[in-house]
Symmetry: C2
Subunit: 304 residues, 2 copies
Amino acid sequence: MNRRIVVAVAAALAVNAGLAAAADAAKHPTMGEVLAASKPSDWHALDPANTLYLQLASGRVIIELAPQFAPQTVANIKALVREKYFDGLAILRVQDNYVAQWGDPSADNAAKRRSLGTAKAKVPAEFTIPLGKDFTFTPLPDRDGWAPQTGFVGDFPAAVDLQAHQAWLTHCYGTIGVGRDVAADSGNGAELYATIASSARWLDRNITVAGRVVQGMELLSSLPRGHGDLGFYTKSEHPVPIKSVRLEADVPEKDRAHLEVLRTDTPTFAALVESRRNRHDEWYKQPAGYIDVCSVPLPVREAK
Amino acid sequence: MNRRIVVAVAAALAVNAGLAAAADAAKHPTMGEVLAASKPSDWHALDPANTLYLQLASGRVIIELAPQFAPQTVANIKALVREKYFDGLAILRVQDNYVAQWGDPSADNAAKRRSLGTAKAKVPAEFTIPLGKDFTFTPLPDRDGWAPQTGFVGDFPAAVDLQAHQAWLTHCYGTIGVGRDVAADSGNGAELYATIASSARWLDRNITVAGRVVQGMELLSSLPRGHGDLGFYTKSEHPVPIKSVRLEADVPEKDRAHLEVLRTDTPTFAALVESRRNRHDEWYKQPAGYIDVCSVPLPVREAK
């Protein structure tokens, strides 16, 4: 079975090596032009069963969960959300050029901490997944330093190691990860972070990635930085209250965002990648001829 | 001459290929341990003649200028600063995961804009420098995608292209660049930006880099994002006033920060790089075995 999977991925690599060439012929459209020419079928709606609304006083952060990569963790987060575990908790840590992290301010105090309800206290580490039969991957044309091959799986930036038969989600801007202690399996989803750095790739394969922010990142990235160790807010600073976290499926239709994201397995996305690998609008004098997985925009729009 | 330069750089590459091996033998010290073991000679004080204090209501941002890479632009910025050009101007643009940019809100209004005084309105583009005799470069051991070779020149992350005999500063977190219009030579230093993204490497060789922020980045990175095109603040939003910009040399001794930065051409820095390429503290389960030039911390401390 492994052999067939490897071949499938290798074939995808070969097919998509054409990414670089694709847009070159088409007179170097800009990303805006690529998106303007996109077809409705290039986009897909977020799945309400795997979309979270993190409500702050400043607005709503929308998160797409990644059950393919972290099935048990995502199930646990959804259990916590459905029991309103996060409502009234807070953003506890904002470390400059790194992460914004939220959870229970009393997590370390057995007497005061909030009950996990029906959610599990212990969830296995889900740092990588094996390359399975249904694994589809759109590789980038350029070499990556942090991983043997990077690209996209569904709506997520990802990496694969064909020799190790593994794939994982990469830590880019807006990655949602699962805070943990030293033990690999010590994260259960009750404490989450978003990377506010455009890359934190050294975390890859060291922590469970549960999703990514698709809208509202600026509400997290512009928060005041904490001045305690690791950017935790000190007592005199201001943990930022979380009003609520809801699953989109539990939100009335009229209050939903109805977001669509660009499919990464489309020629439109390939053209978008090329438009950013080599920027040819008149401002750029020296196109880079390269892009890394965290520098590729993942367009989001409101459904028409 | 070019031939000799290339040899010199190539020799540096060979010598420093030992970066990876250096710390490995020494039982994997963490970055904290590396810094704790550093000698006074591993550090050097910032040059007051090339250090700027950007004063906001929220605090002071300290910028190290890079005259080696942008001599004419840096001279022009210093002329502007000495004439107090920036005092009372504002941060005009904060684009999420990209840049915070400041200058004259009336720059486009000939009747209202502030005079440049003795500073030049036009300065040549200084996107790259030729590899000269005095060029010294500490290369990183890992391959980069955006450039043939990356590493450090003095206190700055940089890249070299031996074939093109060029070097340039790379766009990492806190890079100070010179806003410009479409023409390559349309930036004169009166409008500057700091990258608030941890990498914006596609800007490399497309714009003049004039320095980097060495302290206070969080004052820029946590600013509210603008909601106009490109993150410019709209009329109903809040340009952030600049109280003053001063050259450290013009600031009374008692008000100076007295910062020191770790020299990048030292064994201590090589050990620091290795401590981050492969993190061996017990939290990390899978050391990356890689680092890119924008992920290497450049330590700063107050002089003892």
